[in-house]
Symmetry: C2
Subunit: 232 residues, 2 copies
DNA sequence: TTAATATTATGTTTTACGGCACAAAAATAG
DNA sequence: CTATTTTTGTGCCGTAAAACATAATATTAA
């Protein structure tokens, strides 16, 4: 039963951000909102683009990536429903530094970022909302830097697996990660080569820490993975 | 001519943050403000502490550090006058994750963070001020992760040197970094061992990219350092 | 002053991990 | 269905950088 995405249907599902607005503000935003759907691996925005929109992920999964030295891609963070993203560069008058891509079929609602910023300037609650998001992201970014620079391969992969569990949760069986990603994505998330992601994941599988079936990954020994992550 | 730090003398030097406040707000903050001086390497706050203050660096230099795996320290960012710091954890109800230490003799003005947060909730301009700081820091943090994970030692050290120039500037001669730090600090900033920081700095010196005299570092070939940084 | 400690410097060894080559399997196209 | 491309899986090799060892200086303390 597929329905065409309709803004008015989606508005009730955009989290508590809208509830922080005055009725007038909410009405203007709703009027200016647009809905977009993306296919697997489709680009949402690209590093270098001028930011015009505030993005809200309604359904699907999104990765925020950075091209590093010599085309080496890093997955910097991931977005789950219902989260807002893509606002940081606009706040500081920069173009996008990171790119956003859909992991899987995805629906996004966009608002004009200038309109949102104008509202932030006259609505401290709204400002507070985005401050908290930024503060959370900054905390995670600092954490991530230490993980990626100081932990060894096993620690980094264990970290990535637990991070995916935290971010997107498990399927009904209580074990299987509900995101299926390629070994390459897994490598980009844990800052290693694809070969090493494959190798290390196999090692985890033979140690019965995880069970792997294609792109399906079951987390069998969360505690032991957490320990590996802590030890480096 | 040494004068005891006096709050009323310092208030005019706390940047434009105070100008965003109402007269009443500014008066309350001024009343509650405290001044603190720190000696070289003295701890300002420590990871795990409960955040109670907003810190404003009036004079001196401060490093924000993180203890990683097995006591390995990273310098995550540095603070220059007049910058505010130490507010992120309070915004998200966490304890400090990072520690702050004085690089050199330092004067700091503190405000009760609860009072500041209350003002943020009713003053969108103030909120906007901190949002911008967070957005800038987040951008730098993402950038830094790529640098530290993907660049080789020479690139990372070149990066650190240019970063120090950006952050604290040069002395009157137009070459000498105005911050003098130990090789260990330099290593912690560029995520390498002290030995490698020493070795690589010596290499830069023999290539006439920098001139080193103890802890005094002259940047001779900024362009070439920038190139080394870009190349990885 | 001498002693003790911290910092800087350099050489040697070890190793984690990237790079590469090449199958095997799976997905996609024609 | 077969052909082509993409993804996954393994093995081997080279090397960047950590680990370790040990001086040679500074710096601080006594």
């Amino acid at each position: 039963m597929k329905k065409a995405p309709n803004i008015n249907d989606l508005l009730p599902h955009l989290g508590r951000m809208l509830s922080l607005l005055t009725d007038a503000q909410r009405a203007s935003l709703a009027k200016a909102a647009t809905v977009h759907t993306y296919r697997k691996n489709e680009l949402i925005y690209s590093a270098g683009d001028h930011p015009e929109k505030l993005y809200c992920l309604v359904s699907g999964k999104v990765k925020i990536c950075r091209e590093g030295v010599g085309l080496r891609t890093q997955i910097v963070r991931v977005i789950r429903p219902v989260e807002y993203f893509g606002y940081r560069p606009a706040f500081v008058g920069e173009n996008f530094v990171l790119s956003a891509l859909a992991f899987e079929p995805t629906v996004i609602v966009c608002f004009p970022i200038d309109m949102v910023m104008a509202m932030i300037h006259e609505n401290a609650s709204l400002a507070w909302f985005f401050m908290q998001r930024l503060a959370e992201d900054l905390g995670r970014a600092d954490e991530r830097t230490v993980t990626l620079t100081q932990k060894h391969i096993r620690g980094r992969l264990a970290d990535a697996l637990l991070f995916l569990k935290e971010s997107y949760g498990l399927e009904e069986d209580g074990y299987t990660l509900s995101i299926y990603l390629s070994r390459e994505d897994l490598a980009n998330l844990s800052n290693m080569t694809t070969s090493n992601a494959i190798r290390t994941l196999s090692a985890f599988a033979s140690e019965r820490l995880v069970a792997v079936d294609g792109r399906k990954i079951k987390i069998l020994e969360e505690e032991k993975l957490a320990k590996i992550s802590r030890m480096g």
